[in-house]
C-alpha cells in the first residue's frame, strides 16, 4: 500500500470500493481515480496511441495525456475519461482502453518493433501499392488499430441542462489569485461568479504547505470559502470548467453529477453555463511541463507538481524511491514535500549549475542528494526501475521506482487565445504569457506568469479592483501582508540530447524528439506544419504538455528563438466537453419545438394520422373503418370533396394584417400583379418575387376595408415573407403608410370544399344570405359572424378547385368552428381531409406549391408571365435578365402516363423518346405526382423545356434511381375543371 499513514484531504472514515480492469480496490472519499490507483500501487494504467507503450499517470489534472480510461459501463460508458479528474465514488468501475488482449500484455505493442519505419507521417509515404489496397486492406486495418476508447453505442440515458447567467465579474479559477479576486469583488457588492474545475476551492493551496498572513494556506481557503458562500451577490461553482470565450459570452461546463454513480432523479448529469460577464479575471494557474529524455514516458515518471499533489493532497505516494529531475525551484519544493511525507527521495537532479543558497540549505537539512548541472538521459523498465544520470561527464545508473520531472511552468492562458490573441514569450520564466486577451478579460496570478504566492494574491485582488472600476464599482483590494516566499527561478531546459532511447514529446500520440527532427528535415518547420505532420499537440490534452517542448526542440534545430519559431494557438474548448451537454434538452422529440395548430385537438378526435411538416405537426389523413392503407383513406377523402363536401385545417398558412392608407401601393410593389385596384370585399391571388427575379412566395390577399387588408402566405415561407415585408415597409419605403402584423397564430382557419360547401357554411354563418353566389361570388372576402356572434373572416377560395370557402376565426374558437361545421355537414357526410388529399387535389387543379416554388423558378417558368404588371415591383428588373427569360428554361406543364396503369414519381427526369438518358438530353423533371381518384390514373406536374408548347407530345419520364422509365404525355397543368366552372358554382 502506498497510502501514507497520515495527511491528505481525504476522508479516511469513508472508504469507497472501485474496480479497475475488473480488479477490486479501495480508496477514500476525496480521492480521484488516479490517486486511488496510486494508493493501491497500480502503475500501469494505459497504453499509448501508436506504439502501445505502457503508460502511467503523469499529471494530477485535466491535462492528463496518458491515464485515460473507460469510466462506468453500459449506456453510461465514457471513453477517454481522465483518471486524474474522475472523482472516486463507491462502486466506480473503470477499464483500460485501446489494448488487446489485456493492459499488461498488449499485442499491438509489436508496433514498437517497427518504430523506425513508423516515424512522423510515414503513412503519407506508403500504403499506396497496389492501388486498391489502401481502402481494401490498409485503411480498415489502421482504423481498427486507431482510436482510443470505445463508445457505448447506446443512447445516453442522462439529461443535460443549460442556464444563462449574467454577472459583473466572472472569476475563472479558485486558486489564490482567483480567491483574492472573488473576495475583493464580492465584498464590493458586485455580482460575481467564481468557477473552478476542481471539486475543492484553493488550487495550489490544497497542495503546497504555505502560510498567508500567518495562517496555513488551507485555513485561508476555508475562511475565504465561508465568506464567499455567505455573500448573496456571489455564486461559487465548483466542478465547473470555463471552456470557451465567445463574443460577449463565456461558456462553462458544470459537472453536476459526475462524482456520483448516476444522477439523482430529475438531476442533470451536467449543466452548460452561458455566462454574459461584463468583466472576467482569468486565474487558471499554470501547468508543470515534462522534460524530453529517453523513456520519459515510462510508468512511474510523472510531473513533479503532480507528484507533490498526490503526496500532499491525497496522501498517496507514487513511489517508494523517488528521484526528481528539474530545471526550476518549484520542483525542489515538491521534493521536500515528498521527503517530509516520508517518501525516500534518492536524488534531486537539477539541470542548473547553481541554485539559491536557501534551496541548497533546505535540501541539505533534509539530507537529500543533490546533483547540479545534471540530466537524466534515459529511464528504464516497463514500469520505471532505474534512471541514467549524466553529470560531470559521467553517467550513473540509479535504481528508483518513481521520477518526478519538471521543465518549469506554462501559464494556463488558453482562454486568452479564444479571440485570436497571440501569447508572448517571457524569457524570465521561459514561458508564453498572455498577449491580448479577449475584451473585458484580465489575467492574474500564475496564469499571468506570476508564480509567487504573494504576487498571485495581490494581482488577483488588483485585477478585480481594475475590472470593477471599469464598471463604475468601487472596490477595495484584499490586503495580504505576508505570504510564504518560495523560489520561482527557472532556467530553460527542454530536451536531453544524450538520450539513447525514444524520448517523448507528445505522450498520447507517441511523438518523439526524432519525429520533430524528421519533420524539420522534410521542410515542415512552421509550428502548424509541425503539428499537423507529426500530430504533436493534437491529442486529447491539445498540447498542454507537449506544445512547449515541441516548439523548443524545433527552435533548437533551426537555430531560432522560441518566439521566432512560433506561438501555439489555443481554440475552444479548454478541456473536452460532452456533446450531450452542448445539446442540452434538444434531443429526441424535443430536438425542435413542435407547432400544433389551434385545431389539433379536434383533428386528434377525428382520428387523424399526423405528419411532421417543417415545424408543424399536421393532419395527414383521417383513416376510417376498415381502411388498411393511407391511399384508401385519401381516395375516399378526395371523392368526398369532389362529390359532397370536406373540410381541412389550413391554420398553418402565414397570415399578415396590413393596415394603412398606402397598403394597395405597397402590395403593388411587392407582388408582380396589381392590388391597388382590388375592391373592398375581394381577394386576389398574388405572386411575390425576390429582388433577384426568382419567385419567393404566392398567396392571396383580401381587402377587408379601404385601409385594412389581410394576406396569406404559404406555410413554409410565413416567417420569411413577413420579414421581407417588414424590410420593404420599414427600410425601402418608409414613406408609405403601412403597418404589418403577423396574425398567423391569432386566427384559426378552416377550408371547406365541394359542391355542398355552401350548404354547410350556410348553417354556421349568422347571416346565410350573405354567401349566396350572387352576393358572394368566387374571390370574395368579408368580415362576418359565425356560430352566433363569433368574429370571422370568410373568403371564397379553394385550393382544391371546387366550390370552397375559407373561414377564419380567433384561434381559441377554431375547434368549435370545426365541430360546428362537422355537425352542420353531417347530413352531407362532411369529411375531414388532410394534407395528402389536399396534395392530390392541388395537383389535379395544377396549383403550384413548395415543390414548384423552390427558389429556382421564375414567374415565367410557372406560367405566370402574363400576371406581371408594367410598373415597378420587387424583382422586376432582375427577372428580365436573359438567363431568366431564356425560352429554353424548363416551364411548368402537366403530365399523365400514356399507359394509365403506370405510376409516376416525382424526381424523374424527362427525356425525348429515342434519346439516351444523359445530362445533355435532360429536358426537365417531375416535381409533384399523385394517383388521381378523380381521373383514375396518375397525374404529375413538372418543368420541361418548352412547357405547355409540348402539350400532346410524348416523353420518357426516367427514374434510374428506382428503375423507372414511363412514357408520359405532356398536358395542361390544370387537369381538373380547367375553365373553373366548379369554383364559380
Amino acid at each position: 500500500m502506498s497510502r501514507l499513514a497520515q495527511g491528505g484531504l481525504i476522508d479516511r472514515a469513508k472508504p469507497l470500493q472501485f474496480t479497475f480492469d475488473g480488479k477490486r480496490y479501495s480508496g477514500f472519499a476525496g480521492d480521484t481515480l488516479a490517486s486511488a490507483l496510486i494508493a493501491n500501487d497500480v502503475r500501469l494504467v494505459a497504453r499509448s496511441f501508436k506504439y502501445h507503450r505502457p503508460r502511467g499517470i503523469v499529471t494530477a489534472g485535466s491535462e492528463e495525456p496518458n491515464a485515460l480510461v473507460e469510466l462506468r459501463d453500459g449506456a453510461r460508458r465514457e471513453p477517454n475519461s481522465r483518471a486524474t479528474t474522475a472523482e472516486l465514488y463507491d462502486g466506480l468501475t473503470a477499464e483500460s482502453q485501446n489494448r488487446w488482449p489485456s493492459l499488461a500484455f498488449d499485442a499491438m505493442a509489436v508496433n514498437q518493433l517497427f518504430a523506425p519505419f513508423f516515424g512522423a507521417a510515414f503513412y503519407y509515404k506508403t500504403f499506396m501499392w497496389p492501388k486498391a489496397a489502401w481502402e481494401k486492406l490498409y485503411e480498415p486495418m489502421i482504423r481498427r488499430a486507431a482510436g482510443l476508447g470505445r463508445a457505448s453505442e447506446l443512447p445516453d440515458p442522462d439529461h443535460y441542462d443549460k442556464v444563462q447567467a449574467h454577472c459583473d465579474l466572472l472569476v475563472i479559477g479558485a486558486g489564490p489569485a482567483g480567491l483574492a479576486a472573488a473576495l475583493t469583488a464580492g465584498r464590493a457588492g458586485a455580482r460575481v461568479i467564481l468557477v473552478d474545475e476542481d471539486f475543492r476551492l484553493g488550487g495550489r493551496l490544497n497542495t503546497e504547505n504555505v502560510e498567508i498572513d500567518g495562517s496555513a494556506g488551507l485555513d485561508f481557503v476555508a475562511a475565504t470559502e465561508a465568506e464567499l458562500r455567505a455573500l448573496p451577490n456571489l455564486r461559487v461553482l465548483t466542478r465547473t470548467t470555463a471552456f470557451g470565450v465567445y463574443d460577449d459570452t463565456y461558456a462553462a461546463l458544470e459537472r453536476v453529477a459526475d462524482h456520483l454513480a448516476e444522477p439523482a432523479p430529475y438531476q442533470p448529469r451536467q449543466r452548460l453555463w452561458r455566462i454574459n460577464a461584463r468583466r472576467a479575471v482569468l486565474a487558471a494557474g499554470a501547468l508543470d511541463r515534462p522534460i524530453v529524455f529517453g523513456g520519459n514516458d515510462r510508468p512511474g515518471v510523472m510531473l513533479a507538481a503532480a507528484m507533490e499533489t498526490y503526496v500532499s493532497r491525497f496522501a498517496a505516494a507514487p513511489a517508494s524511491r523517488l528521484a526528481v529531475f528539474a530545471n526550476n525551484d518549484a520542483a525542489w519544493g515538491s521534493a521536500f514535500a515528498a521527503h517530509d511525507a516520508g517518501v525516500t527521495v534518492s536524488a534531486l537532479i537539477d539541470t542548473r549549475a547553481d541554485v539559491s543558497p536557501v534551496l541548497a540549505a533546505k535540501a541539505k537539512a533534509r539530507g537529500l542528494r543533490v546533483v547540479l548541472g545534471g540530466r537524466i538521459c534515459d529511464a528504464h523498465g516497463k514500469a520505471l526501475t532505474a534512471i541514467d544520470i549524466v553529470a560531470g561527464g559521467r553517467t550513473e545508473r540509479l535504481a528508483v521506482d518513481g521520477l518526478a520531472m519538471s521543465g518549469g511552468f506554462s501559464p494556463n492562458l488558453q482562454l486568452t487565445c479564444h479571440h485570436n490573441g497571440k501569447p508572448v514569450w517571457n524569457d524570465d520564466i521561459a514561458a508564453f504569457v498572455p498577449g491580448t486577451p479577449p475584451p473585458g478579460m484580465s489575467v492574474a496570478g500564475a496564469a499571468n506568469g506570476s508564480y509567487d504566492l504573494g504576487d498571485c494574491l495581490r494581482e488577483g485582488a488588483a485585477r478585480a479592483v481594475g475590472a470593477l472600476a471599469d464598471l463604475g464599482i468601487a472596490a477595495t483590494a484584499l490586503t495580504v501582508a505576508t505570504a510564504t516566499l518560495n523560489g520561482t527561478a527557472v532556467s530553460a531546459f527542454w530536451h536531453v540530447a544524450e538520450a539513447r532511447t525514444k524520448a517523448f514529446v507528445d505522450f498520447q500520440n507517441d511523438v518523439c524528439a526524432s519525429d520533430i527532427v524528421l519533420a524539420e528535415k522534410e521542410g515542415f518547420r512552421s509550428v502548424e506544419h509541425l503539428k499537423r505532420y507529426t500530430t504533436l499537440g493534437m491529442a486529447t490534452d491539445q498540447g498542454k504538455l507537449s506544445n512547449m517542448p515541441g516548439l523548443a526542440i524545433m527552435a533548437a534545430i533551426t537555430g531560432k528563438s522560441i518566439p521566432e519559431t512560433g506561438t501555439t494557438v489555443f481554440r475552444p474548448p479548454y478541456t473536452p466537453v460532452a456533446i450531450g451537454a452542448l445539446a442540452g434538452h434538444h434531443r429526441g422529440k424535443d430536438f425542435r419545438p413542435t407547432r400544433l395548430t389551434p385545431l389539433h385537438g379536434w383533428a386528434r378526435e377525428q382520428g387523424a394520422v399526423f405528419i411532421e411538416a417543417g415545424p408543424w405537426l399536421r393532419a395527414q389523413y383521417f383513416p376510417r373503418g376498415a381502411e388498411k392503407t393511407w391511399d384508401q383513406a385519401v381516395n375516399r377523402e378526395v371523392r368526398a370533396v369532389r362529390e359532397g363536401v370536406g373540410l381541412i385545417d389550413v391554420s398553418t398558412f402565414g397570415k399578415i394584417d396590413l393596415r394603412g392608407r398606402d397598403v394597395g401601393a405597397f402590395l403593388d410593389r411587392v407582388y408582380i400583379n396589381t392590388f391597388s385596384t382590388l375592391a373592398v370585399g375581394k381577394t386576389r391571388y398574388g405572386l411575390m418575387l425576390r429582388e433577384d427575379g426568382f419567385v419567393m412566395d404566392d398567396g392571396t390577399t383580401a381587402r377587408l376595408a379601404p385601409d385594412r387588408w389581410v394576406m396569406t402566405t404559404t406555410t413554409a415561407n410565413a416567417a420569411k415573407v413577413f420579414q421581407h415585408l417588414e424590410f420593404c415597409a420599414q427600410v425601402l419605403w418608409p414613406e408609405l403608410d403601412v403597418q404589418l402584423t403577423s396574425v398567423s397564430e391569432q386566427w384559426a382557419q378552416v377550408a371547406i370544399a365541394g359542391p355542398r360547401a355552401r350548404d354547410v357554411l350556410a348553417r354556421v354563418i349568422d347571416d346565410p344570405a350573405t354567401i349566396d353566389n350572387g352576393a358572394f361570388p368566387y374571390m370574395s372576402a368579408m368580415e362576418t359572424r359565425v356560430m352566433g356572434g363569433v368574429r370571422a373572416r370568410v373568403f371564397r377560395l379553394s385550393f382544391a378547385g371546387d366550390l370552397g370557402f375559407e373561414i377564419a376565426v380567433p384561434a381559441r374558437q377554431g375547434e368549435a368552428l370545426a365541430r360546428a361545421l362537422m355537425q352542420a355537414g353531417a347530413e352531407f357526410d362532411i369529411t375531414p381531409y388532410g394534407l395528402e388529399t389536399l396534395g392530390v387535389m392541388r395537383i389535379e387543379k395544377g396549383h403550384v406549391t413548395t415543390n414548384e416554388l423552390n427558389g429556382q423558378t421564375t414567374a415565367l417558368d410557372l406560367g405566370f408571365g402574363k400576371m406581371a404588371k408594367k410598373g415597378d415591383f420587387i424583382g422586376k428588373v432582375m427577372a428580365g435578365r436573359p438567363g431568366l427569360v431564356d425560352p429554353d428554361r424548363p416551364r411548368l406543364a402537366g403530365f399523365k402516363p400514356v399507359d394509365p396503369n403506370d405510376r409516376l414519381r416525382a424526381g424523374a427526369h424527362f427525356i425525348a423518346v429515342g434519346a439516351a438518358a444523359t445530362t445533355e438530353n435532360d429536358l426537365g423533371w417531375m416535381t409533384s405526382t399523385t394517383w388521381s381518384p378523380t381521373f383514375g390514373h396518375a397525374l404529375g406536374l413538372g418543368f420541361v423545356k418548352g412547357g405547355t408548347a409540348r402539350i400532346g407530345e410524348r416523353l420518357r419520364a426516367v427514374d434510374p434511381l428506382r428503375g423507372g422509365d414511363v412514357l408520359v404525355e405532356v398536358c395542361n397543368p390544370v387537369f381538373f375543371d380547367p375553365e373553373g366552372v366548379r369554383l364559380r358554382g
Binding site: R144, K521, G523, L961
Partner: protein, 417 residues
Amino acid sequence: MRYSLLNVVVNGLTGNRFAKPAWRDPAPKPAYDVIIVGGGGHGLATAYYLAKVHGIRNVAVLEKGYIGSGNAGRNTTIIRSNYLLPGNEPFYEWSMKLWEGLEQDLNYNVMVSQRGIVNLYHSDAQRDAYARRGNAMRLAGVDAELLDRATLKAMIPFLDYDNARFPIHGGLMQRRAGTARHDAVVWGYARAADALGVDIIQNCEVTGFSRAADGRVTGVETTRGAIAGGKIGLAVAGSTSRLGKMLGLRLPIESVPLQAFVSEGLKPLIPGVITFGMGHFYISQSDKGGLVFGGDIDAYNSYAQRGNLPVVEDVCEGGMALMPMIGRLRMLRQWAGLCDMTMDGSPIIDTGPYPGLYLNTGWNYGGFKATPASGWCFAHTIATDAPHAFNAEMRLDRFRTGRLIDEKGAGATPVLH
C-alpha cells in the same frame, strides 16, 4: 525522392538521415510565366496541373503564411460529387475521378477513403428533391442510390429512427463519396508541383498589383518584393474580396465563418459520412478515430476565423437528435474556416475580369472536395485563356446574365446557401 515501400524501409534503417525536404524553399524570382496567389489546395493543384498538363513550369505559388493554412487545413475533409445542376455536377464528378487516382498521380497517400455519403430525408418532398438530384447524377453517369428506411436502418442502425422529432424516411447515397486527408492533399500537391519546377514561396503576402496602361495585370507586389507575372491567378478563397479591392473589383462574395468540430479519438463507430440536413448536422469519423462534425454557418460576415456558441449548441443538438449515443463523447476542438460565399452558392473559375487576371473563388463551404478539379480547370483556363467544359458555367458574368447555378434556390443571400 520518390516515396516507396523501399524508401520508407531504407529511411527507417538509416534513421531518416537522408530525408529530404518535401519541397524546396526558394527565394522568389523577379518574374514568372504564371503567378498563383494562394498556397491552399486549389492554388497548389493549379500549379501542379499547369506544369503537368500544360507544360507551364515557370510558375510561382505565393502564400502569405504557410501552405494549407486557410480552409485547406480547416475543413471536414469530405469528398463527393452529388450535385444537382448541370453547371456543377460534371465538374465535381471530374474532381471525384481525379481523387480516385490522386495517390498514384502525386506519389503521396492522401488517404482517399470512399466510405460513402448518405443525405437523410424526412418527408416526401425532401425525398422528391433528392430523387431529382440522384437522377440528375445518374444521367451524368455518377453513382447514386435512393435508400428507403429499412435499407438505411440495416446499414446505419444507430440513428434515432423512431423517437425523432423528424423521423428518418430514407437517404440519398453516393457510395463513391467519402473523405480524404486534408493536409496530405496540400502537401502532396506541393511536393508534386515542386518536383515539376514550381516555386512554392511561403510567408510572401501580396500587398498590391502592378497594372499596364491598358489595364492588364502584370505582376504583384509582395512582402518579399515585386514579382512580375505573365498571368496572375487568384486562388485565395475567403480573402478574394480583400485582394479584389486592391484591383478595384467588387465581387458577388461575402466571407462567412463555418465552424467544425472534432471529438476525442474513438474506436470505429461511424462508417461513412452522414448528413442530417433537417438538423443542420453532418458527421464522419477520421482514420485516427476522431468524430469530425459540423453544421450550419455562423450567419454573418466575418474574417475572424472563429464562431460563436449558439452554432456550437445547434450543431451538437443536431448530433444528439440524430444519434443519441454521442452524448457522452466529448468535443475536443472546434475551429472555423473563412468561407467565400457567392450569391448563388456556386464557385467562380474564370478569366478576367482584367487581361492577365484569372479568378478562382466562391467555394462557399465546399471547396475541399473540389480541389483537384478546381486546380485542373483553373490551370486549363489560365493556360488556354478559356474555361474548360467542366467550368463553362462557372463564370463571373452569370450574375449579370442570370445564368445562375443555385443548387438550393436560396437566392442572393449568401448566409442562406
